[in-house]
Symmetry: C2
Subunit: 425 residues, 2 copies
């Protein structure tokens, strides 16, 4: 069933870009930020393509599943560091990093060592139900891994499997936190019968363009997103800033003030009509519904609004967490003593989950403890590497974990991107 191999052997559908014949570089669709890019191959003749196949796509997966988003097929054995190699042997500098899920590059030797360590085999080949039968080392892994880099002020962490379920269960924790305060809470049990209150008449506020996962209980507010949700709620506009920032200070301040005013108005209105806004959910940088930024002051004021109206504040750091903004958590830029009630994470953190304040821990099992056991084994090693290196240093003269890991250079045309990646991702 190896169509791809057969095609390559037979020389049919010859790749127009044989190995190392062209300059394969990268252009980024990110024009004013640093946290997510888009892989594009720039050919030696100056043309570019977003999607290349050595075999017609319809010969591969379409009979089995949707492939409309497939860009190309990769050779993950040959990929190294920041360089992604496709099945034709083309080598590309990659700042897309599997939708920001590769924290320290492909096939990092330290991670390979963890993988081949016989001591870890029992955890890898078995599938511990961590919430019920954790391995002996689980507590240590939490302490040395997630809690070692936990945002200040958070003493609890709930592991989950992915970004979507991290946000979903954080939403659920907020609903239950509100219910416990507001009642009725029937002897610690949320009576559930496919109706209210099991199906809560509560809601969350999410800004337009926000993205918090692809399951049904999220609170995205994406225009033209091809997904659907069961959660209806208020959705004020997210600030649309004008650039360069120093030339539009007055306009941008006004824009942010308008958005905050509308957010507060919507909280009041939805509360009045009986659909209580029990939480506000936001990304420190909108990373899917556009590449949208707001000032740190905007977030500080929004945090104030959540406190004023008794809303929980969930900061979704699935895409921004793990060091990609120059600080380990993007919300640290805001400089607040009490920046959030819950902080969700996934992707570069190698496991999903959320940090929460004590009050958001239900007294009974609600969320279930889900975690990528396999990948969480890596986490302490990754964090050790990250924290002992100068990856988060802004000094270009500092030695860099990633630069020392590079075994090849793609020439001056890619050096700028390497620097960007080194200091920002």
């Amino acid at each position: 069933m190896s169509l791809l191999k057969d095609k390559k052997r037979g020389g049919e559908e010859k790749c127009p870009h044989p190995k190392k014949s062209g300059l394969f570089s990268l252009t980024s669709s990110v024009h004013k930020s640093y946290h997510i890019g888009f892989v594009r191959r720039v050919m030696c003749n100056g043309t570019s393509e977003d999607s290349l196949f050595s075999v017609p796509l319809e010969h591969l997966c379409p009979p089995l599943q949707s492939v409309v988003q497939v860009n190309f097929f990769c050779d993950y054995e040959e990929s190294k560091g920041n360089y992604l190699v496709d099945v034709d042997g083309n080598c590309m500098l990659d700042v897309y990093t599997q939708i920001t899920s590769i924290p320290i590059g492909y096939n990092h030797p330290a991670l390979t060592k963890v993988m081949t360590d016989p001591k870890n085999m029992g955890t890898f080949v078995n599938r511990p139900a961590l919430g019920m039968m954790p391995p002996e080392q689980f507590f240590e892994k939490l302490v040395n891994g997630l809690m070692a880099v936990g945002p200040k002020g958070f003493s609890r962490v709930q592991t989950m499997a992915c970004g979507s379920c991290s946000n979903e269960n954080a939403n659920k924790a907020i609903f239950i936190w509100y219910r416990v305060r507001a009642g009725p809470w029937i002897s610690g049990v949320l009576l559930f019968f496919f109706q209210v209150p099991g199906c809560p008449d509560l809601t969350l506020l999410s800004f337009m363009g926000g993205f918090h996962g692809r399951t049904l209980g999220h609170c995205n507010a994406l225009l033209f997103s091809q997904t659907c949700s069961l959660l209806t709620g208020p959705s004020p506009p997210f600030p649309q800033l004008r650039y360069p920032l120093d030339q539009f200070e007055r306009e941008n301040a006004q824009e942010e003030a308008c958005c905050l005013e509308e957010a507060e108005d919507l909280i009041v209105k939805w509360n009045q009509k009986g659909r209580h806004v029990v939480g506000v959910v936001i990304e420190p940088i909108q990373a899917e519904g556009g590449d949208n930024h707001a000032s740190f002051d905007f977030y500080r004021k929004l945090r104030g609004i959540t406190k004023k109206h008794g809303c929980a504040f969930l900061v979704n750091e699935v895409q921004t967490g793990g060091g990609s903004t120059g600080k380990f958590w993007a919300h640290k830029h805001w400089g607040l003593d009490d920046p959030a009630d819950i902080v969700s994470f996934s992707k570069k953190m190698l496991t999903g989950g959320y940090y929460q304040k004590d009050g958001f821990q239900p007294d009974k099992v609600v969320a279930g403890s889900m975690c990528g056991t396999f990948i969480s084994t890596f986490l302490p090693y990754f964090l050790s590497l990250l924290l002992s290196s100068s990856l988060l240093s802004s000094s270009s003269s500092s030695p860099s974990l990633l630069s020392s890991f590079f075994s090849s250079s793609s020439g001056s045309s890619t050096r700028g991107l390497e620097t960007t990646l080194r200091t920002c991702c």
Copy 2:
């Protein structure tokens, strides 16, 4: 931070059951079925305990996360086959199998071999975004893995990460399938703005006691479940059969007829009030809200009702799939030519996902392709072992993969359970 180790070394909190000092056996809470059990330790003095710790629980994880469901801590390196070893060295026959997620026992040599094969390292340590940048072998893995055991009549499979998101995205596929047929579908894009139609006014029918995951978009109807959902919908009673079956044939037939009648009435009523029941979701055996069975005839008639009213029929095989009922898919027992529109799976299948008919494949990306890359690498090997063995054979004289894997026998008291496990799990 190794509290557990320190305690053991210091001899404090001495385990009352030192290694091999007692007969550690198993009693099951499953009284009339075979698909899920509950681990219990029976001590040499005849007493039993569900939960044992060598260190007080509050010294471990509670400061970090909820542990109210933790039964005990395991030594996954020492566990083998069907025998689970805890951190005190106690060895137990385990039919709970990590909530039915271990298909062929702990530390199976074939899976360990896959794990240590250098060829697989690139897939393991990197995290391919399968929906966008799959590895070269992905198609082969789908064909040799999931499609090799796909239910008859299903030509498409969508991989997902876990059981919850498999059911969630199957629900979403049903909503979109219905919208496409009913309109309005705006040029292939489901306009989504935190409101209808992005937040659809559609619903699904799920029987009381049904369980389909712990995310917010599921359609559980569990009494006293400590969870919550955003999906409201009809929930008819599931048959409560009386046993022994041959003594209550008339009563059970009447019970099932009543449940079917109520299900059909509810579909009509919810449709009339504008909340269209676009799908019916059911487990072949209710496996969380009780251990509840219905006759194959009940399922055949229910399938007829879904066809009559144009509802999609989603069969949730997350807990029953993978051979645990004596057939690879539990719904095969029904003997129908067209048993379902979508079949979801996870757990013993080592990756989540769902099989679907062609009509349920959206023309645009909706679900996203999520899959446990790491674990899906195991799948073809597991299936090869399963299919080449007589694990699904009911003949007790056949050689068994699991029995041949047992390196030790726990004596006659456990042989009955081994046989049960061998033929049923």
